[in-house]
Symmetry: C2
């Protein structure tokens, strides 16, 4: 006891941009966007809030770096041997699942433009659009539409995920929304009421892919 503990001594690894960003991702995943404060982050890293500023410029850079870490991992899939539509679906689902698991990423991407991780997604989409045989002049529009759709849905889905209390049963939640829809004014919300039933049997992920296919059909179906 008088001697230094050896095996369990747990020497504090030095602070680094990498460790900070990792801890930020953890915090965002567990406590949500409002839980990421410099004080909480500093405590997790057993240091003071000021220390973080030596490695990062501020909260904006911290959030960008955390998002980048998640997106980079999500799109790091091989698509050898896949057809362009298959590769596009896989890529889209990769982003979708990442945002489903880390809802704060969706919120961030939806409000921050021209971020480097978005550019990487755009490049990946564009290559498949090209491989699809889309003529040069139409590629920009096609790739933009796909990316906007992907980020749009993923963002909405993230919002939904965050809206539901972590423990809630998914089927139960959809049921509640469906019931809410069928209580809407019959005249003003005729359509919404008519599709309320679909909500129950509805699979976000499948619906998402169906939308991708819709756009792909539009891209391919040139006169």
């Amino acid at each position: 006891m008088g001697t230094k503990a050896r095996g369990t001594e747990r020497r504090q690894e030095p602070l680094s941009r990498e460790r900070i960003v990792g801890a930020a991702v953890d915090l965002l995943d567990t406590v949500g966007e409002s839980g990421l404060t410099f004080r909480a982050l500093a405590e997790r890293l057993s240091t003071g809030p000021g220390a973080i500023y030596w490695h990062l410029k501020g909260k904006a850079e911290l959030l960008a770096a955390a998002t980048d870490a998640v997106v980079t991992a999500a799109i790091a899939v091989e698509d050898s041997g896949a057809t362009p539509p298959e590769a596009l679906r896989a890529l889209a689902l990769g982003v979708f699942d990442a945002i489903d698991f880390h809802p704060w990423v969706g919120a961030y991407l939806a409000r921050t433009p021209g971020e480097s991780s978005m550019l990487r997604v755009f490049e990946r989409i564009g290559r498949q659009v090209q491989a699809l045989g889309v003529p040069e002049a139409a590629r920009f529009t096609a790739a933009s539409a796909l990316m906007n759709y992907i980020l749009g849905v993923a963002g909405q889905n993230a919002a939904n995920t965050r809206a539901v209390a972590p423990g809630t049963d998914r089927a139960e939640y959809l049921d509640a929304v469906a019931r809410e829809w069928s209580r809407l004014d019959p005249e003003a919300y005729a359509f919404t009421r008519s599709v309320a039933g679909r909500l129950r049997e509805h699979d976000d992920r499948a619906e998402f892919v169906a939308g991708i296919d819709l756009i792909l059909a539009g891209i391919t179906a040139r006169p």
Copy 2:
């Protein structure tokens, strides 16, 4: 001077939910989302911050009400005599333009699900999808895809609008981005570089409608 001023006396209208929401929209439009504080809002209404809480539950409700006011106005267009695709394009552009003018609306819609203004947009889209002759089973997917696309692009566009300093020339900005893109790594960003030129001649609004048409083509082109 000893008598009460008459014409110019400017009696303070009583505070009301309506006046508060109106002032909030003004503040959001002029100073941006970060400029909407209860202190600034109270000052504009020449009262104390606490007074606002008598009429609204808190900031969340304030933002929801402000968004609702804008969206309601944006989709209040008659579409008599228009074909379903025309009506859909007009509706989509209405939302697009509203968000372009009030970027904070895009940011809010992108992060808040199941909001009443979104439901109204959904209903409007759904009716046109139905009028388009889409079979019952496919309507939910089609309407969802359209709405997700619209909100997704509008959100991205809002983000872009906010990113650019209010005074900046649009052409100049696109030029700067295009230059940035052509400075990217030639191997890792081959596609992005190849379409950098398109950026300059690129019209957000037209691109947005092109995406709508892409989805409409996909919806209509059933085998």
